[in-house]
């Protein structure tokens, strides 16, 4: 009995101590990189480096990418927001109304931020003139080819136009049995959104104007969707494929093309089981255009850092602001983004030979010169708009509706959603 009592007392004391220790951290950092096995050691190194430099402690909180929005949303409701959060750039407008969100212009000054961060990366962290996010890493969503599959199908160069693209896909389908020539996202709403947007832009279509007017119901949109439906009918794309499936297929040389962020290299190294030896097969390329001379399209992509005020007004001396500042340090920016196969957000890190001499990152930047904004995910009702778009695209791909019907229905449903969100059509 005495032993049991002693054990219980020890457990209680340990519990109290642990809670005390957790509460004693100077700031908390919630991010999805910390939830990824491959990136977790790097995040730990960042935190250790920060603690060694400032003597401030950080409580890391790992949350899977897919659960991040939900977790942050629930934490906001339960008033347990972390001090610093890693988010995807397309979520920023959605979270920009959260209470206590820090405008970095007020803390660090607009001039300092402009001198430190690459302009297009910095722009991704702005909402209505306020700098709510700072780029941890940036890039674009563009196309990647698997050279090994292309070679197997006798393709010597990557396709430049959609016509060449389709011809190459047919060649791959016929030469590589059981392959998915183009691993387009056909499941998971947020994956479908990104892939469809790239083709929308490629065909000269748009979904929603900056004013909030829904313009998706156009001939160009119908052509874009009809093109994808045709690929499905020809078995050049396959159902039941999300972004993780696509990475796996390309990594295992069972698919030739797919759309992804520059982090693609890290995923493909892992899924191929060959690590850096697989790099020779990873080929960033331009998204094929409708006709020669058109500008290839890609979509903006970044990991942003947002913060919630620790004092009112927040100052540079706050623990979380010191951490944010440290994340922009060369010690972090020349290491973490490169490990993740992405461009750093700061100007000085981009000029560093570690980054500048990385052939893959250079090729990525050269192939995706003017990434466009995600026209759907950035609205406050982005979740509903994403569901609508993905449902209609899926219904056309699976033959439940014609491309024209799906686009018309998409336009009507999105217009209803935007009206409800305060943007009369």
């Amino acid at each position: 009995m005495t032993k049991i009592t002693t054990l219980m007392a020890t457990a209680l004391a340990a519990g109290i101590f642990t809670i005390g220790a957790a509460q004693a951290a100077d700031l908390s950092f919630m991010g999805y990189s910390y939830a990824e096995e491959s990136a977790k050691p790097s995040v730990d190194r960042i935190i250790d480096g920060f603690t060694a430099k400032t003597n401030l402690t950080v409580e890391p909180i790992g949350t899977a990418f897919g659960d991040m929005q939900k977790t942050l949303f629930l934490r906001a409701r339960s008033k347990t927001l972390p001090s610093v959060v890693q988010i995807s750039e397309r979520w920023l407008p959605m979270f920009s109304t959260l209470p206590g969100l820090v405008d970095y212009n007020d803390v660090f000054g607009k001039d300092y931020l402009a001198k430190t961060y690459a302009p297009e990366a910095l722009a991704m962290g702005q909402v209505d003139g306020k700098q709510f996010g700072l780029p941890l890493m940036s890039g674009s969503i563009g196309m990647v080819a698997n050279q090994a599959v292309l070679t197997k199908a006798g393709i010597t160069d990557v396709p430049k136009t959609v016509e060449e693209f389709k011809a190459d896909l047919i060649a791959i389908r016929d030469a590589v049995p059981n392959s998915v020539p183009y691993a387009m996202a056909t499941k998971n709403n947020s994956d479908i959104l990104v892939d469809f947007l790239v083709w929308e832009y490629t065909f000269g279509a748009h979904v929603i104007e900056p004013s909030g007017k829904v313009v998706v119901d156009s001939d160009a949109s119908k052509q874009a969707l009809a093109f994808l439906v045709d690929l499905m009918k020809e078995r050049l794309v396959a159902p039941e494929i999300g972004r993780p499936d696509a990475r796996r297929l390309v990594g295992q040389s069972a698919a030739a093309f797919y759309l992804d962020a520059p982090q693609s290299r890290t995923f493909l190294r892992s899924f191929s089981g060959q690590d850096k030896a697989f790099d020779v097969n990873i080929r960033p390329m331009q998204v094929p255009v409708v006709k020669e001379g058109d500008e290839p399209k890609s979509i903006q992509w970044a990991h942003l850092i947002i913060s919630f005020a620790q004092s009112n007004p927040p100052t540079k001396d706050d623990a979380n602001m010191q951490f944010v500042n440290y994340l922009g340090d060369d010690a972090v920016e020349t290491q973490f983004p490169v490990e993740q196969s992405a461009l750093p957000g700061t100007i000085s890190a981009r000029a560093n030979p570690v980054v500048a001499d990385d052939a893959y990152l250079t090729a990525w930047a050269q192939n995706n010169t003017h990434p466009l904004a995600n026209e759907v995910g950035t609205w406050s009702n982005g979740g509903e708009l994403t569901d609508i778009l993905a449902e209609e695209v899926q219904s056309a791909l699976l033959g439940q509706k014609t491309a024209d019907e799906a686009i018309t229905s998409m336009g009507q449903r999105m217009a209803g959603s935007m009206t409800k969100a305060g943007f009369p059509q």
Partner: protein
């Protein structure tokens, strides 16, 4: 002689302790009963009643991620929900899912119980193995079935391709019918052990002599099932149907892990719709309104089940 009258009370003809409390034994038992009920009642209030009350309240507000302060809008969420074709589609899909999975489990669970009620070598081992799908976590079951149905690596496509029945892999989960069939089959597979256990318990109470007599009278297997076993199993049948309906209405994890409610909205039952509204579209008010309606659909079978339990038949 001892005075048997309690203070201020009527005279009794049996001795009463001076420490006896007001109300006597019955009241004391009642107090103990209430005391013992307290932990369960507290848990019920905290875990079920309070969140439900809160959801009921939220269903009357416009409450999205963007709302700094939720706005009271009365029954507008319910009006939106009930006039939305998507909600009615979800009700229909829920009815199909619950009806097919309960009906399928009933038939297969009863059939399996009848087989396992026969004496044969290895029966105990098979009975134990039958419980496996029930023991496996529902999400794991869903992933197992997702792999079985997978268009590229699935067992079904593998067998069909090998036997030459199909030329190209079929995307079973990409048609509305295929996706619904997959979630229903998974639910049936998970529920058979429970149904079977109920039926087996019922079958073991059947009077063997009565069945022997029926056979002597010339009854075949079907007649014995129809005229003797099913009437005997009637109370069990009612209980398992009610439990199956409640379980089906509550189901979320199997469907979410297997199809996520898709393709398009083919398996978007009420539970999935609540999740989508709350955690994909961030509309808590609307999600609460659908949740309240979802609970309303659960109440009749739950009430019926509780009535059966209380009445003991």
């Amino acid at each position: 002689m001892t005075d048997l009258a309690p203070p201020g009370g009527r005279r009794l003809d049996y001795p009463v302790s001076a420490n006896a409390r007001r109300g006597g034994l019955q009241a004391a038992q009642r107090r103990v009963g209430i005391l013992m009920l307290l932990p369960a009642a507290t848990a019920f209030v905290l875990i079920i009643l309070y969140p439900f009350g809160q959801a009921l309240g939220l269903s009357l507000f416009e409450d999205t991620l963007q709302s700094i302060q939720p706005t009271f809008i009365g029954l507008a969420n319910f009006q939106d929900v009930l006039t939305s074709p998507e909600t009615w589609q979800s009700f229909l899909l829920t009815a199909i899912y619950v009806g097919c999975s309960t009906g399928g489990t009933l038939v297969l669970g009863l059939g399996w119980a009848l087989i396992l009620n026969q004496p044969f070598r290895g029966r105990a081992a098979i009975r134990a193995l039958t419980l496996l799908p029930w023991v496996v976590p529902s999400t794991v079951s869903a992933f197992i079935w997702a792999w079985i149905f997978n268009s590229r690596f699935g067992v079904i496509n593998g067998v069909l391709l090998e036997t030459g029945l199909i030329d190209v892999p079929q995307a079973w989960l990409s048609t509305p019918e295929g996706a619904m069939l997959a979630v229903v089959l998974t639910r049936i597979w998970r529920s058979i052990p429970l149904f079977m256990a109920f039926f087996l318990a019922g079958l073991q109470n059947v009077d063997g002599e009565q069945l022997d007599a029926a056979r002597v009278d010339g009854a075949n297997n079907f007649a014995i099932l129809r005229d003797h076993l099913l009437p005997h199993l009637r109370p069990v049948l009612i209980v398992v149907v009610v439990l199956g309906v409640i379980g089906g209405l509550q189901d979320f994890d199997t469907i979410f892990a297997l199809t996520g409610g898709g393709p398009v909205r083919a398996t978007a039952v009420l539970s999935i719709e609540v999740y989508r509204k709350a955690f994909e579209q961030w509309d808590i008010g609307m999600a609460s309104a659908i949740g309240v309606l979802w609970v309303a659909t659960l109440l009749p079978p739950a009430f019926f089940y509780l009535r059966l339990l209380v009445k003991g038949r």
